[in-house]
Symmetry: C2
DNA sequence: TTAACATATGAGCAATGCTTCAGACATCGG
DNA sequence: CCGATGTCTGAAGCATTGCTCATATGTTAA
C-alpha cells in the first residue's frame, strides 16, 4: 500500500514525494505531537517558566512561588493546576500549605538545556537539594 | 533580622524568605526568560512542531512542508516567517523555491530530547544528513 | 512580454489563553 | 466553636495567536 496518490489527495503540491513519504512515516503520531506541543506550551509563559525555574532548586509553597514569579497567588495557582494536569509538577500538602516540586525529569532536562544555551548556566548541577 | 517590610511591599506573603532571595538571585533576567518563553511558544503549535520535526532530517521546500504538516502553504509560510524571525530556521532560495533548514542547534537538541522522551526515538542520531 | 508558478505578506475573523475578581474549601489558633 | 490563613476554583474581560482569503513579489517557461 502507501500509494503515492494518497498524499496528493488535498490541494497540496509536492516536490520531493519520496522525501515527504519518508518524513511522514517517521513523524510521531498526532497525539504525541499534540501532547508535546502542550508541554512546550506550558513552558511558553514567562510566569510559568519562572515558577519552573524556581522549582529546579527544590520544592516551594505557592506563596513563595508567587513572590518569585511576581504574579498573584491566584494566577500561580492556576498555573500550577495546569502543570499538575500535565504531570509536570507534583504537590505535597503540609497542613494548609502546599509544596510543589518538579515531577518530571524530562522537563528538568529541557529547562537545564534551555538555560544552559541561553548563557545562563544554572549553577552547574542540581543535586535536587535535599530539603 | 531581614526586616519583613522590604519584600512585603506588594500583597505577596513569603514563607521561606531566605529561599526566595536565593532563587530570585539565581533567576535569569526578564529578557532571557521572555526570549526563552518565546522559543518554547514557537514549539507549542502542532503545525510548527511538525514542520520542525520534518526539518530534523534536512532541508525542505515550503510546499513539501505543507504536505507534511497538513496545513496550507500560506499557513506554513506564516509559521516559517515566525521561525525565521527568531533564528530557528534559515531559508535558501533556489529559483522560485525556498528551502528551509534548522538554523539553531539548540532547538535541534530540544526537539531530539523531547522526541526521545516521548518514546518515539527519531532514528537514533541525526548526523545532519549531508544534503 | 505574458502567463503560470512558488512563496511572502497583510487584513480580518475565530479560538485560545492569561489575569483578575469573587468566593469556596480545608486547616490552624484562640 | 469561631475567625484567620493558605490554597483552590469558576466566571468574565482582555489580549494574543493562528487560520483563511486576497494580493504582492519574484521567477521560470513559452
Amino acid at each position: 500500500m502507501s500509494n503515492a496518490s494518497d498524499i496528493g489527495a488535498c490541494a497540496v503540491r509536492v516536490v520531493d514525494r519520496e522525501r515527504v513519504s519518508g518524513v511522514l512515516a517517521a513523524m510521531p503520531s498526532q497525539e504525541d505531537i499534540g501532547e508535546l506541543a502542550d508541554i512546550f506550551g506550558l513552558l511558553a509563559d514567562p510566569g510559568r517558566l519562572k515558577v519552573l525555574v524556581a522549582l529546579l532548586e527544590g520544592e516551594m509553597c505557592v506563596c513563595d512561588l508567587a513572590a518569585v514569579s511576581g504574579a498573584s497567588e491566584s494566577a500561580v495557582s492556576h498555573h500550577l493546576r495546569l502543570l499538575r494536569a500535565h504531570q509536570v509538577v507534583r504537590a505535597r500538602r503540609a497542613g494548609r500549605m502546599a509544596y510543589y516540586r518538579l515531577a518530571d525529569a524530562h522537563v528538568r532536562m529541557l529547562l537545564d538545556l534551555a538555560l544552559t544555551h541561553i548563557g545562563h548556566a544554572p549553577a552547574a548541577l542540581h543535586p535536587e537539594r535535599v530539603t
